[in-house]
Symmetry: C2
Amino acid sequence: MIEFWFEFGSNYSYLSLMRIEALAARHDVTIVWRPFLLAPIFKSFGWDSSPFVLQPQKGRYVWRDMARRCERYGLPWQQPTSFPRRALLPMRVALLGADQPWMAAFCKHIMQMNFAEDRDIDNVEAVTEALTALELPASALIAQAQSEENKLALRRQTEAAQARGIFGAPTFFVGDEMFWGDDRLEDALEML
Amino acid sequence: MIEFWFEFGSNYSYLSLMRIEALAARHDVTIVWRPFLLAPIFKSFGWDSSPFVLQPQKGRYVWRDMARRCERYGLPWQQPTSFPRRALLPMRVALLGADQPWMAAFCKHIMQMNFAEDRDIDNVEAVTEALTALELPASALIAQAQSEENKLALRRQTEAAQARGIFGAPTFFVGDEMFWGDDRLEDALEML
């Protein structure tokens, strides 16, 4: 069992999200999906954006690194013209779907919109498209995602991330052992 | 040819410094040693220490990550009780030695003091020990390292790092292609 903490706005979460299913299957490991919000965590460090925006040198490097990594992994890639993209609505839907059979496919669809198609994802149209592609009842799920109960649940999940010591995404847990970054996905799985 | 930009105070530089010779030899690649100072670069971001100190959550993780990485690479490891350690004198000696046959052995000795033996490295005794172990004229080299000319040369090298867009250590260059972090050492070498 590997816990996968991620956020749709995070480019390195994109890499892991596109890779984790095949890797977990190869290791015969179950994925526990843990969507959470990065912004409140960054805010707790006094940051009002991603470190890739706040540190332009690192930002420039990261886009080059992403292009190389996507090439290596055979993933489509387009540098987003807006970064980090807000992802509140799709994150709320992902929280609803965390235990559902459509979770991986939904998340991949949203990630591809952001990082392969350079499209905004924090709106009803984008989320409807992703859900409809999976033949899911989009309106009903979006309404449920926007319920007070589910909004609160995502806040709680984000607080849980903070309490676990999470400071970025993606983060993986194998038991109490924490692994940060797409680079450590293989290490986490090998631990099992 | 791979450029290896590093600093003795940097724990991830330790991993690369202990691994790069064998890896470069396997790829039949020459290492160009580029010691530089991290502190002025961090200062340019408004930081008065390492991000691993300024962000305690990340710091806690990094020490766990280091222990796991050292185990994987078969490297000795002791979490330094003082971090980041000042390394001005050994860095100045490293700049002198960059083209010398003793460079790799000297750098490994200093890194081991810091990250395997938890010893201070920014003093004449420590540097003398490392140079003497290689049967080098320690006093003469230390005097030369502390000349105005060499001090200025290390400042210039650090400015060159900044001008190249370096924001952390280790950093590798293959031509104009930049790679940041010990995790990318293999990628950099595979590019050649």
